[in-house]
């Protein structure tokens, strides 16, 4: 029988209990929700906590509100639940699609939205998309609750501002204007079960033929996923046109740090990023103008 992955595991029944446990054990405890990222790290020795705090039993598995009025998604809501939620499929289908591309079907039954954000891989599907949707995260610790805009949540690859004594309890997606359009493209080498080689998310609000508001998020092309603010500035207030989009694509690419590794070289990633940006902007615009 293989060795157990920690010495002890606690199953707090309330968020307050969970926070108390983390306050007591902080340096020697790891929080587990879905476990789909954590367990491979425990098996590899990347993390070796003395004990685990299992938050799977906390009442953080919910989808409240609506895309139009604003969504509050509990941190332990699974990818499967998001992918199959009627209100999300109807009003925010890009989120259902992104959740449905995390790992494979078995992964999605366990993996949680909070876990994707706290793992903070720059390639994370929901990491990338939720930045473009201007999400915020609610954290709870011994000093109480705080809400952090997602774009301030990531400090570096797999590093966040979450304290060791805090847990993420909710993801907040602000209300989306009626005429919004959005797209998320995850470019992978394999058809399924793969991490994004490049990830692009776009949310756009048109005003006739002009771009009233646009958010462009890039994943897997830098140490953290980020919003391409210069590109957004180039596009906002302007007429939707190929020239302006090209200018924005160039600005977005300039912000990326493309690496060469066993999966692809930097030039390839750079080329793919431009293609995905053009496609995602076009699809988001199209979806705003026509059907979703």
């Amino acid at each position: 029988m293989k060795a157990p992955l920690a010495n002890d595991i606690y199953e707090p029944a309330t968020v307050a209990e969970a926070v108390d446990l983390l306050k007591e054990k902080s340096d020697s405890a790891c929080v587990i929700a879905g476990g789909t990222d954590l367990l491979p790290w425990l098996k590899d020795g990347v993390l070796a906590p003395e004990c685990l705090v299992d938050i799977g039993g906390l009442p953080l598995d919910y989808i409240k509100g609506s895309p139009a009025k604003g969504l509050q998604i509990g941190a332990t809501t699974t990818m499967k639940e998001i992918k199959t939620s009627t209100s999300i499929k109807r009003g925010l289908p890009v989120l259902a699609s992104a959740a449905g591309q995390v790992g494979g079907p078995q992964t999605q039954e366990l993996a949680t939205i909070g876990g994707n954000l706290c793992t903070a891989s720059p390639a994370g599907n929901l990491v990338t998309l939720l930045l473009a949707l201007e999400a915020e995260v609610k954290l709870q610790g011994p000093d109480g609750e705080r809400v952090v805009p997602l774009k301030e949540f990531f400090r570096g690859p797999k590093q966040t501002v979450l304290e060791k004594t805090e847990i993420m309890i909710e993801v907040i997606i602000p209300p989306l204007p009626k005429k919004y359009g959005a797209d998320y493209i995850k470019f992978t080498l394999r058809r399924e079960m793969d991490i994004a080689l490049v990830g692009v998310a776009v949310m756009v609000v048109p005003d006739g033929t002009k771009i009233e508001k646009i958010r462009i998020s890039l994943g897997a092309v830098g140490p953290v996923a980020f919003l391409a603010e210069k590109a957004q500035e180039i596009l906002e207030g302007k007429k939707y046109s190929a020239e302006t989009i090209e200018e924005a694509v160039k600005a977005a690419r300039d912000r990326c740090s493309f690496i060469s590794d066993v999966r692809a070289d930097a030039q390839y990633r750079c080329d793919v990023t431009a293609v995905l940006l053009r496609r995602a902007i076009a699809k988001a615009w199209q979806s705003a103008k026509g059907g979703k």
Partner: protein, 156 residues
């Protein structure tokens, strides 16, 4: 530190002592001798360890034993009922969908969960549903045929 775990496995109430920080696949195989569930990649990539956990097809290598408490678990050993093969098992046999058979329990558990949710899948939906199960032998064609065969059996 071990604790007593109470759950239902393959329709039977079971109580046993196990370390809650062991994985469910290790407990099922090494402690309960239910070796039909296979341990392969141990990272949730191959699906060979797929079991039904409260009706959901999950990788048992990513489930800690503490999550077995109070759960209803079905492994490949629990698929045959009263000596009769399940329609999914019959379909796999009819379509020659196993060569070495190592991936087969994982596929069958996944297919059972999938067809419970989606009894009339399209070809595309079938392929997507099997994304979490790898087979090194067959090239998947016969496995996909087995799923379609099972769909017909479950309808008729």
């Amino acid at each position: 530190m071990k604790r007593e775990i109470h759950c239902k496995i393959n329709g039977e109430k079971r109580t046993f002592r196990a370390d809650p920080c062991s994985t469910a696949v290790d407990v099922l195989r090494d402690h309960l001798y239910l070796t039909g569930t296979k341990s392969s990649c141990e990272t949730g990539d191959c699906g060979a360890c797929t079991i039904l956990w409260n009706g959901k097809a999950v990788n048992a290598c990513l489930l800690l034993a503490n999550r077995m408490e109070g759960a209803e678990i079905v492994t490949i050993e629990g698929v045959m009922k009263r000596g009769r093969l399940d329609p999914v098992q019959k379909a796999f046999i009819e379509e020659d969908a196993a060569q070495c058979g190592f991936c087969t329990p994982g596929f069958i558990m996944r297919v059972k969960a999938f067809l419970n949710e989606n009894p009339s899948p399209s070809d595309e939906e079938i392929k997507n549903a099997l994304a979490g199960n790898l087979c090194r032998c067959t090239g998947y064609i016969d496995i996909i045929a087995a799923v379609k065969n099972a769909v017909m059996k479950l309808k008729g």
